[in-house]
Point group: C2
Chain length 77, copies 2
């Protein structure tokens, strides 16, 4: 049983309205020096037996886990 | 300008229907030995000047970023 962690984040030039909403909420709640919030997703994949090779995982990331037009992904472990 | 990364994940005993859907989709796409997928969120907070102390950040995490009933959070850096 092997595990892979994949982090998916919006590209830096893509607007993050959800992050903006969180940033404003934090400011309203008293966190005055908050400047910016960006929100991403993290996937924990568990495999029966051995995990696939990195290339295969990358393929599935760009097909399903991330939208390569607006998101970057990073395979962490 | 300092940054803090916060990861929010569902507690292990909480069902993750979104993760289940991704798991099934990966299997249908040919990733046969996928066993389980869990999906979390990651927040990148940027502060003007110094970041608040850890206790303050924890307070805002449990008030806004995470739902402590079903989610755990981890302040990473």
């Amino acid at each position: 049983m092997e595990k892979v962690k994949v982090e998916v984040n919006l590209k830096t030039n893509v607007m993050d309205p959800q992050g903006l909403a969180v940033s404003k909420a934090l400011k309203n709640m008293g966190l005055e020096n908050i400047k910016d919030v960006r929100i991403g997703k993290v996937f924990y994949l568990t495999f029966d037996g051995e995990k696939p090779d990195k290339k295969t995982i990358e393929e599935f990331c760009s097909k399903l886990l991330a939208n390569p037009v607006i998101e970057n992904f990073e395979i962490i472990e």
